[in-house]
Symmetry: C2
């Protein structure tokens, strides 16, 4: 594959951009559905704003794929099944489960793509890093969850269980994405001299560690 200037574009770059943009498109849809379930107008607006921010990033990734001479639709297609399956298996039953899923799931996805992007060339790595920067809407989520738990002491237990389930499903989904395409598997286990399956294990350990920190911020036991 070659980009507009004729330079070669690695399959791994196109696959990562495709997977990331479909994750963002689905994230937008999921956050909008959370907004629809949310009874408070203040929180509704906050979740809608976060979802819209995710869609804008999806569009920016589309522009980047266009610069590389690639169709965003084609780049997203191989990852539709794995991402849709994640959302299918983790349908929230109320708005609090929805936003805990948005916060926990988005964090894991963000960490995973950051790990994967570390193996890319500097220009594509820099682009991925920009796309994965926290958009800031997450603070509103932390506030809403903490506020809701103040009013209902038993809520913390239910949401902690739910967050653990999301963690499991998200790890499963990111692994599925990684093995979906040879290019990504190669990136993961062979991206750098000496990296191997032990490195993959360490990567998931780092992602789990970051998850624990996010759970503490929410006031939930990991």
């Amino acid at each position: 594959m070659t980009d507009q200037s004729g330079a070669s574009v690695s399959e791994a770059v196109v696959d990562l951009l495709g997977a990331l943009s479909y994750a963002q498109l689905s994230g937008f849809e999921a956050l909008a559905a959370d907004a629809q379930m949310t009874p408070h107008l203040r929180a509704k607006m906050a979740f809608a704003r976060m979802g819209v921010e995710m869609f804008h990033r999806c569009e920016q990734v589309g522009v980047r794929l266009g610069e590389l001479g690639m169709s965003q639709e084609q780049a997203m297609t191989p990852f539709v099944a794995a991402v849709d399956a994640f959302h299918e298996r983790s349908k929230p039953s109320d708005w609090l489960e929805g936003i805990v899923k948005a916060y926990v799931g988005d964090g894991i996805v963000r960490d995973f793509y950051t790990e994967m992007a570390a193996h890319l060339d500097p220009e594509n790595r820099a682009f991925m890093t920009r796309m994965l920067t926290n958009a800031g809407g997450a603070d509103a989520i932390v506030d809403e969850v903490r506020l809701a738990m103040q009013g209902d002491p038993r809520l913390g237990g239910r949401l902690a269980l739910w967050a653990r389930r999301i963690m499991g499903e998200a790890i499963h989904a990111t692994q599925s994405v990684a093995v979906e395409r040879d290019s990504l598997t190669a990136l993961l286990v062979g991206g750098e001299p000496g990296s191997d399956l032990n490195e993959v294990g360490r990567m998931f350990a780092r992602i789990t560690q970051a998850h624990t920190v996010r759970m503490e911020l929410l006031g939930l036991s990991a």
Copy 2:
């Protein structure tokens, strides 16, 4: 009520902006839900884009309300029940019903607020007109509906019936919004010397006429 410069702000202006911004927030949520049901990535992106545009307008109306010294949440609150009831009574069963609803419903809502805004002072009227300008995403909807009907000749009949139901529900919802607040009823029947219930009848006749034109564009019988 007074704005930041101390000028008096009519209740009708605040009510219209509040009703419009909640209609846009719900429209965003409904379009995102349609995107989620849509199997084709091209159409999915188009509906998401339209929904995001609607949310941006909701935010612009929020900025305007802020300039007038009003809280957007407070201004939206009286209209939540009527708008939610509309969406509750017109849940699409597939993505084509969803986008026909978005197109037909958004058109009626747009026409209704344009009619209402005609009775406002020039500055607020100009603002409402800007917010109600067609964002352009509607063309994508017309194309998708026509394309789907080419592949399934019986689809036209089902979607025409559905569009008629949406028309009825939307007229019911806009009437509910108008009678929800004395200020809006007064705007509608007493906005100008000589306006009366006959004028309200003529307004709904104009809205119905515009609906018929939209149905023809979709290739559906009204």
